[in-house]
Symmetry: C2
Subunit: 149 residues, 2 copies
Amino acid sequence: MKRLLERIDREILAAGGKRSRSRAVVIEGFFRARDHVTIDELTRSVRESAPGIGAVTVYRTLKLLERLGYAKELDFGEGARRYESNLSPHHDHLVCRRCGTVIEFEDREIENLQVLVTRRHGFHPTAHRLEIYGFCRKCASGDSPERFR
Amino acid sequence: MKRLLERIDREILAAGGKRSRSRAVVIEGFFRARDHVTIDELTRSVRESAPGIGAVTVYRTLKLLERLGYAKELDFGEGARRYESNLSPHHDHLVCRRCGTVIEFEDREIENLQVLVTRRHGFHPTAHRLEIYGFCRKCASGDSPERFR
DNA sequence: TATTATTATGATAATGAATTTCATAATCAT
DNA sequence: ATGATTATGAAATTCATTATCATAATAATA
């Protein structure tokens, strides 16, 4: 973790940025936080140790991390973006509509088929998003079927 | 088209709704419009023939069509939702980052693999979204490579 | 180390899509 | 026609995100 933060610091400097206290706090908070955080969630958690941090700084810092390739924007259609760290290899998401749990999965075969699809259409892919919505094991095993809506 | 509009009218009535002029205009406009329209786009186009229509009515009418199963909400990360008619069978989208063209595709094999993935995680899928972003054939064949950003 | 130049911060305002409110109008059932 | 209900549309509201701007912090220079 220390090495990571130092590396990011160096990249920020190299890009003409400065290392500020607030930014460092947000960055460390982001990597410590659970994955798929909301700006709001991260702001709250970061403010517990550093109450002065403005939400705007959190927005800006995550945009910065995204530019540097350390964070990825997610959108599960909730109205607010989420961010995940981009350290682990590419994966897609199963999103539970009831409890909000997010399960990550990776399927090489699906990825390959996607490439074939784009090829058939002369399309040059640069990114994709695949999310499967539904109910996780726990939520699906509830007794009352009407919980599904 | 006429049959479709009549059928929708009947369903609205059956659900306790009323058939209003504005709503009829919006619904017909929606099915005549090109697919993947924005609320704003549809509002403009509808207002050409019926200038009085309020944007709110367009919002409400599309929500209604979605509830009835005739429209699907899309989100290509542009900040504004898009809607497509839900008459054709399920499909996913290739979205060109340059010209905005949307190519629809359907791949049974990908769908099957998705089911297998969810099964592995004890997850009960109810919906999914798969979008591949990149450049369509025309935009990719441009001479200047720096158009890719 | 002191100075200067640049970047970052954070409070507030602005933006923009989507929703709510509410008085009025249209539509349906009697 | 009448009454009851639903729909409309303008304006206000909400909420996430971005822009503004004066101040503060940081880096580079002397």
